[in-house]
């Protein structure tokens, strides 16, 4: 695959924003145009913020994947980041093809020696494509940032799910306590103790016992 020489000249005229480049590492290139393809708006925002903080000034998000390829061609990015839950990843495979329809050939951001990089990316759930001919060192920091932000998002999601489950569980326990207090005419502390003991004796989770009390009460209504 041969990079279009005209494109290289165009790139050389793009200047980084003044004042930002001094604070960033020598390997980063704030002029690179980065496209993020992610249907999850929260994760895309987290990644875009990370890239902005690192000094990248041309970051564009595509959330809608209809006619993805033509949108990418019109944006003409240097780097494309896409999440692995996106079926449109296969659409990007077309950009590897030598074809008259393609303005700039694109390569996956890995080469034979980069097994660790591809493993880290796939593990985090993201994939990166760069314009062929672009030096890998210039985009290494982008992929690293991307992997760490995707991992951070996964942890956040996990925490959110756990909190949500805990909240639902707490609500169910409250309802079960209320039912026991009313039916057995006992105090709140005793109702809780009864649930806890039953859970221990039956080797079940407190939330599960509470749920069966609520279900049973519903049936007996």
């Amino acid at each position: 695959m041969v990079a279009n020489p005209n494109w290289r000249q165009q790139k050389a005229t793009t200047q980084p924003a003044p004042g930002r480049s001094a604070s960033v590492s020598s390997h980063m290139d704030p002029a690179l145009k980065i496209v993020i393809v992610d249907e999850n708006p929260l994760r895309a925002a987290i990644l875009a913020d990370g890239l902005a903080e690192a000094g990248y000034i041309h970051v564009i998000r595509i959330e809608e994947t209809a006619s993805l390829l033509s949108r990418i061609y019109s944006l003409d990015p240097d780097v494309i980041l896409i999440d692995l839950e996106n079926p449109s990843r296969d659409v990007l495979a077309q950009m590897f093809q030598v074809s008259r329809a393609v303005k700039r050939p694109v390569a996956m951001f890995v080469d034979q020696s980069d097994t660790a990089a591809i493993e880290a990316a796939v593990d985090a759930g993201v994939s990166a494509y760069i314009v062929d001919g672009l030096k890998k060192e210039r985009v290494k920091s982008i992929l690293d940032l991307c992997v760490s932000r995707f991992n951070a998002f996964a942890r956040l999601q996990e925490e959110l799910d756990r909190t949500r489950t805990e909240l639902t569980e707490r609500k169910v326990i409250e309802r079960a306590k209320g039912i026991l207090m009313k039916v057995k005419n006992i105090s709140e502390a005793d109702a809780y103790e009864l649930l806890r003991k039953t859970a221990m004796n039956e080797n079940k989770k407190l939330g599960d016992v509470a749920q069966s009390v609520v279900t049973a009460a519903g049936l007996l209504k």
Binding site: D90, A93, Q97
Partner: protein, 390 residues
Amino acid sequence: MTKDRLRIGFIPLVDAAALIVAVDKGFADQEGLSIDLVREVSWSNVRDKLNIGLFDAAHLLAPVAIASSLGVGHIKVPLVTPFMLGLNGNAITVSPRLYAALARAADGDLGDPCTSAKALARVVAEQRRRRVEPLVFGMTFPFSTHNYQLRFWMAAGGVDPDEDVRLVVLPPPYMVESLASAQVDGFCVGAPWNSVAVDLGVGHILHFGCDVLARAPEKALAVRAAWVADHDDQLRRLLRALDRAAAVVNDPAHLDEVSALLAAPERVGVVPELLRATLEGRLRVTPNGSAREAKNYMLIGRDDAARPQPIHAAWLYAQMVRWGQTTPSAELLAAAKASFRPELYDAALGARKKPARLPEDGVGAFTGEAFDPDNIFGRAALSALKRHHH
């Protein structure tokens, strides 16, 4: 006995049937294998996860397995194919509008791919005269039989797939929607998506894949070459489970059961009736209801379909060369052929009697001379020349 755990990736398509049945009917279990089937959303994901070892094996487009072995279009990871999960199963579907245009332009029966390809050439020429945007066709992946079948068919009618029309990659679940919204005029995709388009009234099935090629090497069970070396026993057991499953898939007495298994949301996830019709090769081809039956619409295990054939690998490599995806090289051709491993199949399942009357060149194309794996560069060079004269 502790079971060996295997993680196997698949794409929700009917030709994952042997894999799904082997797991869900307990055949793998009986071979001492505990298999996690992981449903994926893209071929790129399946390939990458197999390549880096997150999967032990995968339901993979046969040309992707070869491209990966050759390092074409992506990093080179040698994969081998010890078992074909399916031959055929694709169809070319066009919008009612393009179907009508083809019918007007055809001199003869549109069901004949020679006639339809020539009709396509006339429609393309007419559109160009009227300065209308070129027709757009969807296919599933650059390295796919879908891509090669479309191109083979078009080229036979004198249509240059790179110049005269636009071929675009679309994930199978988006095909029908894209046809309905006129973003594409036609597509080549596997089951069940052609039937879905017909049932919704947005597409006509123009050809079954088997009209273009009698036996197209469609989906491989692919494993890493490095994995085979130290898992030969596990592989043998896996192939035995798949072989048993393929027999069940082909048994009319089990059709309902198999369709129900495949219909599960975490498997293929479409209605059982559609799956049943696909497995029987009995598909509605027009929205107003006429159906067509083809015994070879999809071959899972029967008629020697599961035994990988090096000539199929050669044919796929020849298509890569023909359409400029890679360069002609005796070395690459040999590597492609060597990645299809009938001896691994035989080692697990024993040598079997071959059915009579299979196409001698492996593929049985509807037109042109028989495929000759010893002379692919001459043909490819000729095709390239023809494209430049266009």
